[in-house]
Amino acid sequence: MNTQEPRRLELVPGQNQKAEPLFKTKEAYEKFWADFYAQVMPILDKQREAHRRSEEAAMHHLVD
């Protein structure tokens, strides 16, 4: 039976000494993304609606 921990890959040699987590806690991380998408979602919703209307209008635009 393999009892070894999975190997931890590094992006660069000695990464542990060169990098640190962006967020100190899980709560800070979750709050960041909650705030992020609270700001972004209304914009994305508007974009989706703009595309729906664009596609609808394209059905009536003949180019010859």
């Binding site: 992020f36 998408y37 994305l44 595309h51 059905m59 003949l62 180019v63 010859d64």
Partner: protein, 482 residues
């Protein structure tokens, strides 16, 4: 002067009082005055000799001949004439030596026996048409003149034949031929086949064509492997022309539809020395699109490499474009405006925004340049660009990247476009609602990467502090700087 006038490959030396008269003679009866005027208009006096390849079998014309012209009582010739242009005098001896004539090869025009438009498949080098000081998407083709293989790089052009193809099919053909020439994953599509792609989405007959609706053009693109998106000026307001620019800057030619016409746009010209055009998308940044003063495109009613001015008074200005189609690769799920919405939240956010993490960038209003590229192309240029810090270059080299990425380069007005100071990289194969799209945020002082998603694990954002930084070149691969 025409050498071997009655042969299969006469060569016309352009000179004298009426230099193009010899071309009209040698290419008759296929080439009419209207076609000759177009060729003259495109090449001016840059062509010094023309090799006339008679009895040329053109794959695109043969497609429409087989499926349409051959069904008529009176049929046109099934063969074409191909004109090869050179920027220096050539003769039958020289033409057998490709090293001698390749430097002077300007490209070719196929002349069809169709009326009212005889100009068929065309690939001319931009320099042949006097086009300079711009950024263009280009593709290469090899042509064989009696066994001498020559290469030409340009953007494909074709005029409508008014039977099988109208401007819609011609614009689609130009876009599709660019992609099939440049990327082997896209199939080569011929004019009648393009028209036939809409057969399940049409009412009434397909030919003679009455044009296409914009959504039918998008559908045709979908059927040949693209993931097209349609933008309407009315719906996208201030960002409409910025989005056009962003796709063109990404090396994705767009189909720009006017009131009753459509053209293919594939390049732009920017004026970096002047003030950027006043736009109101986001007051905290200047976008590279604001330096744009013209788009370059092919209008099948005109000659290759037309300019569409952003601020002039031409009949067909950019502000007359009502909607456009961007033919995205099928793995690009994140649209340009979706990336921009996420980007604004990153750059202006309290935790990872440039004002929180980068005193250097905060000194001036940042200039942002957005584009789509492949992870492979991005990595290929890391060694030359050096990315402002050796640690950043090392991380980027090792970081597994998706096939397509959105990139936003960050610079300052005095520095751009010579140098940049950082970038944001986002996964273009994710939708906007997935937080794992984050790949990297790089400021001169710090690099934040998602180590988790890179290794196909849960997101793990790690921060590298950077001890030093230097400006480095913008990414150049999508477009050719002429």
């Amino acid at each position: 002067m025409i050498a071997q006038e009655n042969g299969l490959l006469p060569i016309v030396t352009l000179g004298g009082v009426d230099p193009w008269n010899g071309v009209a003679q040698a290419a008759s009866p296929h080439l009419d005055q209207r076609g000759l005027n177009k060729i003259q208009g495109a090449l001016g006096n840059r062509a010094k000799s023309v090799v006339v390849e008679r009895h040329y079998i053109d794959k695109d014309y043969r497609d429409t001949f087989t499926n349409f012209h051959a069904k008529k009582f009176s049929t046109p010739d099934s063969r074409c004439i191909r004109l090869h242009f050179f920027g220096a005098p050539v003769n039958h001896e020289l033409i057998r030596d490709n090293t001698a004539v390749q430097p002077h090869f300007l490209g070719y025009v196929v002349v069809r026996p169709t009326r009212p438009n005889c100009i068929g498949r065309t690939l001319l080098a931009p320099m042949a048409c006097g086009v300079t000081d711009c950024y263009l998407s280009l593709c290469k083709e090899e042509v064989s003149i009696q066994g001498t293989v020559l290469t030409v790089e340009g953007f494909p052009f074709i005029s409508q034949d008014a039977d099988v193809t109208a401007c819609a099919q011609s614009a689609l053909w130009m876009l599709a031929r660019y992609f099939s020439n440049r990327y082997h994953v896209y199939p080569e599509i011929y004019p009648f086949r393009l028209t036939a792609l809409t057969k399940d989405y049409s009412i009434g007959r397909l030919v003679p064509t009455a044009g296409l609706y914009v959504w039918q053009m998008a559908e045709a693109l979908r059927q040949i492997g693209f993931s097209p998106v349609i933008y309407n000026r009315h719906e996208h307001g201030d960002t409409f022309e910025h989005l056009m620019y962003t796709y063109v800057e990404s090396g994705i030619p767009i189909l720009a539809a006017f009131d009753n016409h459509v053209v293919t746009l594939f390049g732009h010209r920017s004026a970096f020395s002047g003030q950027p055009a006043p736009q109101t998308m986001c007051g905290q940044f200047t976008f590279s699109s604001e330096f744009n003063c013209a788009f370059f495109g092919n209008d099948d009613n005109a000659v290759p490499y037309q300019t569409l001015s952003c601020h002039g008074s031409m009949a067909r200005n950019i502000d007359k474009v009502e909607r456009f189609i961007a033919a995205l690769p099928d793995r690009v799920f994140l649209r340009a405006e979706g990336f921009q919405a996420l980007l604004m939240q990153v750059l202006l956010g309290p935790d990872v925004g440039f004002q929180a993490l980068s005193p250097i960038i905060s000194r001036q209003k940042p200039v942002l340049r957005l584009f789509l590229t492949t992870g492979r192309s991005f990595k290929k240029r890391i060694a030359v660009r050096r990315m402002g810090n050796s640690l950043v270059a090392d991380v980027y080299r090792n970081l597994p990247l998706p096939h397509f990425i959105w990139v936003c380069e960050i610079s300052h007005a005095g520095l751009y476009p010579a140098k940049i100071m950082g970038e944001v990289i986002w996964d273009a194969t994710r939708n906007a609602h997935e937080r794992d799209g984050w790949i990297a945020v790089h400021y001169p002082e710090v690099l934040v990467v998602d180590e988790g998603a890179a290794l196909n694990e849960p997101q793990n954002l790690v921060k590298f502090s950077l001890a030093s930084a230097f400006g480095y070149p913008i990414f150049e691969n999508n477009l050719r700087n002429l």
